[in-house]
């Protein structure tokens, strides 16, 4: 089947690294890591998502005309999908009764639906709940919608607020670092939680042309795979991520050597970084330019895949990637070396990877081109 080209006409980002993409790039430029191990804005998932959507729609010049197109909304989240209000449950436990206010908020708060309602999008709408790969997988779902004619434009990415539940949960798993996270570093002690949202406006090239939009960036491929191994630990041989990467490259019709850098998931947990490093080396070789932006943003859970897709696109446009902050010492078990300073890049394709609880692996290939 003839697949339409899908271009990226808008991007938006909010995280500890900046309230928008301009601020974020300034933070990256300065290589300024965050000052504390928990990064938070104390904003709800919906507000975070709407901030990034607003920026992305502005960038795409789509705000006024949105009702003229079939616009789909596909967003990933973890926190916003759960009915986990502690006060509601405490009341229910102690008295057998509880106010329905938090339930009403939950029922009105399906992330994709709430965003679609706010921006008056009339196309397909779904919330992806694939844990920490949700944002990347949401972009993959949107790509499928566009390729199969479900919509003309899709708003895709991920968002998550930071609240008590993931803080307790990740703490219980023993994978949270008390100090600043150090992705891929020999002495890494775990992740820092963060919150944020990253959004892409994806569009069939024909639709963008009709709107008079010229985009240099396009979504070239998406690949996903399951480890079929363990609920929380990644498959040690890295073959799950490797399969996702190979699928994404195949969909983009490019070879591994066409990739000029990888924005890795790089959470700074012992297992993730080791497995990811092994897989990246096997697919791209040990000299591939790699970074993790978790040292700037913390691990924003479902927001990560969206944010890192935005960062990947922005880096292709800018021609440089920031230092992978936190990395100092090479780990002998990890066969790749993240960049330690702002690094010039030259090439037309880059990859963003996401790994998640449940053994989900996702890879996105973003391309840069000249408008024909």
């Amino acid at each position: 089947m003839k697949k339409p080209n899908v271009v990226i006409t808008g991007m938006g980002a909010i995280s500890a690294a900046g309230a928008n993409l301009t601020e974020t790039l300034d933070t990256f430029q300065r290589g300024q890591a965050n000052k504390k191990p928990v990064f938070e804005h104390r904003m709800s998932t919906l507000i975070l998502a709407l901030c990034a959507v607003d920026e992305a729609l502005d960038d795409a010049e789509l705000k006024k005309d949105i009702e003229d197109f079939r616009v789909g909304v596909c967003l990933g989240t973890t926190v916003a999908s759960q009915l986990n209000d502690v006060d509601f449950y405490r009341s229910y436990r102690s008295t057998g009764k509880a106010s329905m206010d938090s339930v009403d908020r939950f029922l009105k708060g399906n992330l994709a639906q709430a965003v679609a309602n706010t921006i008056k999008a009339k196309g397909p709408c779904v919330t992806v709940v694939n844990a920490c790969s949700s944002g990347a997988d949401a972009i993959g779902v949107a790509l499928s919608w566009l390729m199969n004619g479900e919509c003309d434009i899709a708003i895709a990415g991920g968002a998550d607020e930071l609240n008590r539940i993931p803080i307790c949960g990740f703490g219980a798993l023993g994978i949270v670092s008390e100090s600043l996270c150090a992705p891929f570093d020999r002495d890494r002690k775990g992740l820092n939680l963060g919150e944020g949202a990253g959004i892409l406006v994806l569009e069939k090239e024909t639709c963008a042309r009709k709107r008079g939009r010229k985009s240099v960036l396009y979504l070239a491929g998406y690949g996903a795979s399951a480890d079929a191994y363990h609920l929380t630990a990644p498959r040690p041989d890295g073959t799950g991520l490797e399969a996702a990467l190979n699928r994404a490259l195949a969909e983009a019709h490019i070879m591994a050597q066409d990739i000029c850098f990888v924005n890795a998931h790089g959470t700074a947990t012992r297992d993730n970084d080791k497995v990811e490093g092994i897989a990246l080396e096997r697919v791209f070789g040990k000299d591939i330019k790699v970074l993790s932006t978790k040292g700037f943003t913390g691990h924003t859970l479902a927001g990560a895949g969206g944010l890192e897709a935005v960062f990947t696109g922005a880096a292709l446009l800018e021609g440089w990637i920031p230092a992978s902050v936190g990395f100092e010492h090479q780990d002998e078990e990890i066969p790749i070396t993240p960049v330690t300073e702002k690094t010039h890049i030259q090439g037309s394709f880059a990859v963003s990877t996401s790994l998640a609880f449940g053994g989900n692996n996702a890879a996105i290939v973003i391309g840069k081109k000249r408008w024909n």
Binding site: V86, A112, P124, T127, N148, I165, G171, A224
Partner: protein
């Protein structure tokens, strides 16, 4: 896309045969406060080593998935990367989420169980499914309340037609624990006699909460069509309604509030049915309705409506009998005048 296999876990038992029997038998009053899946329905020694730590939510999904694959008789062992898995759910494993909150409230923020936390994420069930089936293809869990199952079908079709997968296991799972029952009692009008009445078309309909899981193995390959073809899945697309249908299944179950919109579909004159009284009120109940339609097309048999209260005197299917059926529509409204339609064809 073609339905090659179906797996069902519901209050009446496990397996497509049990579901078929329940449809033929008709309505039975639920044994307790709702249509709950029984403990014995989610015990299976074949999978014990892989799902021993799984919660009830994941077990229901795993067993329905494994049964769908077994029902198809397709050997997927050599196609571990060609199977995609799409799980839809309205509320996720909320019972486990509340168990995690129990930990926090009883033992403090630093002493909650990591196992409980890892099972409280929505995609835990999909992880178990991929592990049990040793599937290495793409896996997605999604949620969209009343239209979760429909969105999952739309994605399944996309994955098949863009050749991302050769097969897609797509379905839904939802659980009704005590907290959800309390919420339902506060938000919905619960039927005191245990009878959901799909054809009353009330602004405030009655509901009887249920839980369970239903999965379909889908493929483009026509030779693997065991039940039917799904020709269209649409959301608020009026054009799909033009094709004449032999039968229309209404997913009315009292779960999404205002059901007056269903009356428009019911007054078209086509034979109307609704099977929610077999499995209970569920946001993701459309999967069960779709399974009923698939069975009727395969068996060329109409199943009588289990609860036949018919105050508007519409053309309901009153009797279980052989019938020539080529096309069935399954319709769901979400209480806000938004409609989803699944079209099935023999």
């Amino acid at each position: 896309m073609n339905v090659a296999g179906i797996g069902v876990v519901f209050s009446g038992g496990r397996g497509i045969s049990s579901y078929d029997d329940a449809l033929k038998h008709g309505w039975t009053k639920p044994e307790d406060s709702g249509y709950h899946v029984k403990k014995e329905s989610i015990i299976d020694k074949r999978f014990l080593d892989k799902i021993r730590r799984a919660d009830r939510f994941s077990k229901m999904a795993v067993l329905a998935s494994a049964d769908a694959v077994a029902d198809s008789a397709i050997n997927l062992n050599k196609k571990k990367s060609s199977l995609g898995i799409i799980v839809s759910t309205a509320f996720g494993p909320h019972v486990t989420t509340f168990r995690f909150l129990d930990d926090i409230l009883e033992y403090g923020d630093r002493n909650a169980s990591p196992t409980t936390f890892s099972h409280s994420v929505h995609n835990a069930a999909a992880s178990y499914i991929s592990s049990v089936l040793e599937s290495r293809g793409p896996t997605i869990t999604l949620t969209q309340f009343a239209f979760s199952f429909h969105q999952a079908l739309i994605l399944a079709r996309a994955w098949l037609y863009e050749e991302r997968c050769e097969y897609v296991l797509v379905g839904s799972v939802d659980e009704c624990g005590t907290v959800m029952e309390y919420i339902c009692s506060q938000k919905l009008r619960i039927a005191e006699d245990g009878r959901i009445k799909p054809f009353n078309f009330l602004e405030t309909p009655v509901a009887v909460p249920g839980d369970g899981s239903v999965f379909f193995l889908m493929t483009r390959e026509k030779s693997h069509k065991k039940y039917c073809e799904i020709t269209a899945v649409s959301l608020n697309d009026k054009s799909v309604e033009k094709n004449k249908q032999d039968m229309c299944i209404l997913d009315a179950d009292g779960m999404t509030g205002d059901e007056r919109e269903y009356q428009k579909a019911a007054e078209s004159g086509v034979c109307i049915s609704g099977y929610s009284p077999i499995f209970g009120s569920m946001m993701t109940g459309s999967g069960f309705g779709c399974a009923a339609g698939a069975l009727m097309l395969k068996n060329q048999m109409r199943y009588a409506c289990p609860v036949q209260d018919n105050p508007h005197n519409i053309n309901i299917c009153a009797k279980t009998e052989p019938a020539q059926i080529q096309r069935i529509s399954c319709i769901r409204y979400n209480g806000r005048e938004e409609k989803a339609v699944i079209k099935l064809k023999n």
